[in-house]
C-alpha cells in the first residue's frame, strides 16, 4: 500500500517533469544542447532624403510577423525625427516627421528575421483589404475581356490566376495586354496589373513586396509577387512564372501598389535594403520568440531574472543532481562522507576555488586544522572552546595562504572567498568531532572520501550541459525528486553490504 502510494507519487512527479520538458523543447523550442545554433537574417533599410528646408514627412513600411517568419528586435535609427507607427490597410507604416529639415537626412530601420520553426496557425479570417480600383474606364473593359479569356482556359481559381499571369508575361502578348502594360514588363508592374484585373472582376488580390533572404548583400533588390484569395486563404503566386508558389526565402514586407518610401517636403535621394545572415543560438532565438509572442513559460522562466540572479540560479539549480548522487551513494552504494550533504557544499566551494586548488586547499587546511586539534588535546580544552580555537586557526591559516599567494602572484591562491571558508571550517569541525568520537582512522577515511565524493559532484555539477539542462528545464528537478523518492523506498541491499555480508552467502564449510 505504502509502496503503491510512493510509485504513484513518483510517476506523477516524473510525468509532470518530463511533460513540461518535452513541451518546452518541442513547442517553445528550448534546446537540450545550449550551444546549438540556427541562422537568422539581419535586415536593414536605409532611406536618404534631400530636405527642402521646411517641414519634412518621410514614411516607409514596417515589416510584420507572418506565418513563416517572425520579426524581432526592430530598431529605428532616425535622429531629429519624430516617430509614429500606424496601421495602414494590410501594412504598418512608419512615419518620420521633422518641422524644419535641410540637407541630407538619413533614416534607418534594422530588424532580425527568424524563420518560424512551428508555423503560426493560419488565420482563417481574412484581413480587411481595400479593394480600390485605379484602372480607367476603358482599361476596365479590357481587363474584363482578359479575365474572361483566362477563365475560359482554366479549370479552377488557382489555374485561372496562373493562366492570367502567363497571358500577361508571355512574349507574344496580345494587343490588349500591350495596351495595359505598356513597355514596363517588370514583375512589379505585372503583379500590380494582375491584382487590378482580378479586382475589376470582383476578386480579392494584391501585389506583395519583399526581399529574398537567400540573396544577402549590402544592397539587394526588392521582389514583387501576387497574392489572391483562393478559397479561404491568401495564396501567393510568382509574378514571373504564374506558379502558385514563391521561394521559401521570400520575406513579405508590404502589400499594395504604394512605393516603399514616401517623401513630403524633400526629395528621396537614395534607398537601400541590406541583408546579412547571422548565426544565433537556438536558445536565444527561442527566448526572443517566446518573449515576442508573450509565451507564459518564457516570461516566467529563470532566463528573465537579472544577470546576477541568473548566475546564482545556474549554480543553485545544479545542486539537486549533487544531492541525488549523495542519496545514491548512501542508499544504493553504501558510501558516505562527512555530514549528510557536506560533499555537495564542498563541491559548491570548488566552483570558486576551482577543483585542483580547491582539493589542495581543503587537504592542507584540513590537515593543519587536525594537527592543531591534536595539540589542543593535550591542553584538555572543552569541546566548543577547542572547536572555536581550531576555526580561528584555520581562518588565520587561510589568510596567510592568501597573502603569500598574492606576494608570489599565485592567482588561484587568491580565490578563497567567504563561502569556501565557511564550508572549510565546518568540515574541519565535523572531522574533528568524528576524530573524537570514532578515532583518527575513521576521521581521515571519511575526510578523504568526502573530498573524492565532492570532486565527483563538482565535475558533475559544473558541467555546462548539466547546468544548462537544469537551468532551462527546472522541471527536470521533479524527475530527480521522483527518482529520489523511489530510492527512499529501496529496501534492497546496498552494494557495500554485498561485501560486508558476503560470508553469509557462502556455503558453510
Amino acid at each position: 500500500m505504502r509502496n503503491l502510494h510512493v510509485y504513484l507519487l513518483a510517476a506523477a512527479l516524473a510525468a509532470i517533469g518530463l511533460g513540461l520538458t518535452a513541451y518546452k523543447h518541442f513547442v517553445v523550442g528550448l534546446p537540450f544542447i545550449e550551444k546549438a545554433s540556427v541562422s537568422a537574417w539581419e535586415v536593414e533599410s536605409e532611406v536618404r532624403v534631400a530636405a527642402n528646408g521646411g517641414p519634412l514627412k518621410l514614411s516607409m513600411f514596417e515589416p510584420q510577423d507572418s506565418r513563416e517568419f517572425s520579426v524581432l528586435d526592430t530598431r529605428i535609427a532616425a535622429p531629429d525625427f519624430g516617430i509614429t507607427i500606424a496601421p495602414e490597410g494590410a501594412n504598418r507604416r512608419l512615419n518620420l516627421t521633422a518641422r524644419t529639415a535641410s540637407g541630407v537626412m538619413v533614416a534607418r530601420q534594422r530588424f532580425l528575421v527568424h524563420r518560424n520553426e512551428v508555423r503560426a496557425p493560419d488565420r482563417r479570417q481574412l484581413p480587411p483589404f481595400p479593394q480600390e480600383i485605379t484602372l480607367p474606364q476603358t482599361a476596365q473593359s479590357i481587363a474584363r475581356t482578359l479575365y474572361a479569356a483566362a477563365h475560359a482556359k482554366s479549370a479552377d481559381d488557382v489555374s485561372l490566376i496562373t493562366v492570367l499571369l502567363r497571358d500577361l508575361t508571355s512574349p507574344d502578348r496580345s494587343a490588349n495586354v500591350r495596351f495595359l502594360l505598356g513597355d514596363d514588363r517588370s514583375p512589379r508592374k505585372i503583379a500590380s496589373l494582375a491584382a487590378q484585373i482580378l479586382r475589376v472582376n470582383g476578386r480579392f488580390a494584391r501585389a506583395v513586396h519583399g526581399v529574398d533572404l537567400a540573396k544577402t548583400g549590402i544592397s539587394v533588390n526588392t521582389k514583387t509577387w501576387l497574392e489572391a484569395v483562393v478559397g479561404d486563404h491568401w495564396q501567393a503566386f510568382s509574378a514571373a512564372t504564374g506558379e502558385p508558389r514563391i521561394p521559401r526565402d521570400y520575406f513579405a514586407w508590404w502589400r499594395g501598389d504604394a512605393p516603399f518610401a514616401k517623401v513630403d517636403g524633400g526629395k528621396a535621394d537614395r534607398q537601400r535594403i541590406g541583408i546579412t545572415r547571422v548565426e544565433q543560438t537556438v536558445l536565444r532565438r527561442a527566448l526572443a520568440l517566446g518573449r515576442h509572442q508573450g509565451a507564459f513559460l518564457t516570461n516566467y522562466s529563470l532566463y528573465n531574472l537579472p544577470a546576477t540572479q541568473r548566475g546564482v540560479f545556474r549554480v543553485i539549480m545544479s545542486i539537486p543532481i549533487g544531492v541525488f548522487v549523495l542519496v545514491l551513494l548512501r542508499n544504493v552504494i553504501g558510501l558516505h562522507g562527512v555530514g549528510t550533504f557536506m560533499p555537495v557544499l564542498i563541491a559548491l566551494s570548488f566552483r570558486i576555488t576551482h577543483l585542483l586548488w580547491g582539493l589542495v586547499l581543503f587537504s592542507v587546511a584540513l590537515a593543519a586544522g587536525l594537527i592543531v586539534r591534536l595539540y589542543f588535546e593535550h591542553l584538555k580544552l572543552l569541546l566548543v572552546a577547542r572547536l572555536g580555537a581550531i576555526v580561528m586557526f584555520v581562518i588565520l591559516f587561510l589568510a596567510a595562504v592568501t597573502v603569500l599567494s598574492d606576494k608570489v602572484n599565485f592567482e588561484p591562491g587568491l580565490s578563497v572567498a567567504l563561502f569556501p571558508l565557511v564550508i572549510l571550517t565546518m568540515t574541519i569541525e565535523r572531522v574533528s568531532v568524528i576524530w573524537d568520537e570514532n578515532g583518527p582512522a575513521e576521521a581521515i577515511k571519511l575526510a578523504v572520501l568526502s573530498l573524492i565524493i565532492a570532486a565527483f559532484c563538482y565535475v558533475l555539477m559544473a558541467a555546462p550541459p548539466v547546468q544548462h539542462i537544469f537551468f532551462a528545464f527546472p522541471e527536470m528537478i521533479l524527475v530527480l525528486m521522483a527518482l529520489t523518492i523511489m530510492v527512499g523506498r529501496y529496501t534492497g541491499y546496498r552494494l557495500s553490504e554485498l561485501v560486508r555480508f558476503k560470508i553469509l552467502a557462502e556455503p558453510r564449510q
Binding site: T491, G492, L504
Partner: protein
C-alpha cells in the same frame, strides 16, 4: 569470485537483513521516533527498567551540570571500581572503566592511569555533548562496575563481555556474545575490534564467532576456544529481552545485557537501531526470523510462549 547479483540472490535466500530494509521496513514503521529518548538516555532506561523490576547496574551518581563535577571525587571516591559513561552515548564511546587506584591516580581497566583532574575533564567533555547523539548537552552516569562471570574469564581481554539480544515484538530473535579484545581496547563493540559470537537461542551456547569480518574460533588475545560456551542464566536473559518491547513501546530493539558473577544478568542499555553484524556472528539472516515471527502471529501470546517459540525456531536447528 562471486558475482554481485549472485551474492545478493544468495543473501535474500538466507534472509539477511540489509541496512535499507532494517530502516525502511522495521525501524521507521515500528519504532516511533518520539520514543527514542527512552532508550537513548540511559538514565531514563534505568528508571523504566526499575519500574518493570529488571535488574540494572546500580547508579552511584549522576552529574547534569558542570558545577556538580567539582564534587565528583567526594561522591565517588568511596567506590573502588566504577564506570563513567555519557547518558546519551552511542557505540560505547566515552565510557571509562575504573578499576582501583595507584597512589593518587585512578587505574583504568586498560591498565592506563588517570588523575582525578583527567577524569573531571572527561566528565566535562561528556556534559558538553561530545559523545551524545547529535551533540546535545548530556549527563554523566557513574555506575557499579560489573564483575563479569567467571565463565568468560578466559575469553575476554580488559573489558566486560556483554550479550546483545534482538527482540522483535516481544520475541527474542537473535543473540550474540561480544568479547572485548586488546584491539577493541576493552570495548564490546564489533566495529571497534571486539569478537562477536552467535548464540544458539535454544541452548544458550555460543556458535561460531566473527572478528573483523572473518570467522574465528579462538580469542585473539587468550587463544581460548570461543564457541560452544554455555552462557549461565540465559533463560533469564531471554525473559528480560522478551519484556523490553512492551516496556518501551519500540517493536524492534537491541537489548544489551551483562552477566555479573554475584548479581546475575543485568540490563545495561537498549538500542532502537541495533546493528546488523549480529547476523555475521550467527551466520544467519535476521529478515528470515523477523518474517517467521510475523507469520506465526506469536507477538500477541504471553511471554513464556514467545520464549518457547524463539527457542524452538531460532536455535541452532532452526532458521
Amino acid at each position: 569470485m562471486m558475482m554481485p547479483w549472485r551474492i545478493a540472490h544468495q543473501l535474500r535466500k538466507v534472509g539477511v537483513l540489509g541496512m535499507n530494509a532494517r530502516n525502511g521496513d522495521y525501524i521507521l514503521p515500528f519504532n516511533p521516533r518520539k520514543l527514542y529518548p527512552l532508550v537513548d538516555d540511559k538514565l531514563l532506561t534505568k528508571e523504566l527498567a526499575q519500574r518493570e523490576g529488571l535488574a540494572t547496574p546500580e547508579l552511584h551518581a549522576a552529574f547534569h551540570y558542570s558545577g556538580e563535577i567539582r564534587r565528583a571525587r567526594e561522591l565517588i571516591d568511596k567506590y573502588d571500581d566504577f564506570v563513567v559513561k555519557p547518558a546519551n552515548g552511542s557505540r560505547g564511546n566515552g565510557i571509562l572503566v575504573i578499576k582501583g587506584r595507584i597512589g593518587d591516580n585512578l587505574r583504568l581497566a586498560s591498565h592506563r592511569l588517570m588523575s582525578w583532574d583527567d577524569l573531571r575533564f572527561h566528565m566535562e567533555n561528556i556534559l558538553s555533548g561530545i559523545y551524545s547523539l547529535g551533540g546535545q548537552e548530556d549527563s554523566v552516569l557513574v555506575e557499579y562496575c560489573v564483575e563479569f562471570d567467571r565463565v568468560f574469564e578466559n575469553i575476554t581481554h580488559l573489558g566486560v563481555p556483554d550479550i546483545r539480544l534482538i527482540a522483535y515484538r516481544g520475541v527474542p530473535v537473535m543473540g550474540m556474545l561480544r568479547l572485548p579484545t586488546s584491539a577493541s581496547e576493552g570495548k564490546a563493540n564489533l566495529h571497534q575490534g571486539a569478537i562477536g559470537a552467535g548464540i544458539d537461542l535454544a541452548s544458550g551456547r555460543t556458535l561460531t564467532a566473527v572478528w573483523r569480518n572473518s570467522v574465528v574460533h579462538q580469542h585473539p588475545d587468550t587463544l581460548a576456544e570461543v564457541s560452544g560456551i554455555a552462557i549461565p542464566h540465559f533463560d533469564r536473559m531471554l525473559e528480560i529481552a522478551a519484556c523490553c518491547n512492551a516496556m518501551t513501546g519500540l517493536d524492534y530493539i537491541g537489548v544489551d545485557l551483562v552477566l555479573d558473577r554475584s548479581k546475575g544478568p543485568l540490563m545495561l542499555e537498549l538500542n532502537a537501531r541495533p546493528g546488523l553484524n549480529i547476523q555475521i556472528a550467527n551466520r544467519a539472516g535476521l529478515a528470515a526470523r523477523l518474517e517467521a515471527v510475523d507469520r506465526a502471529g506469536i507477538a500477541q501470546r504471553p511471554a513464556p510462549e514467545r520464549i518457547t517459540f524463539a527457542k524452538h525456531y531460532f536455535g541452532a536447528a532452526g532458521v
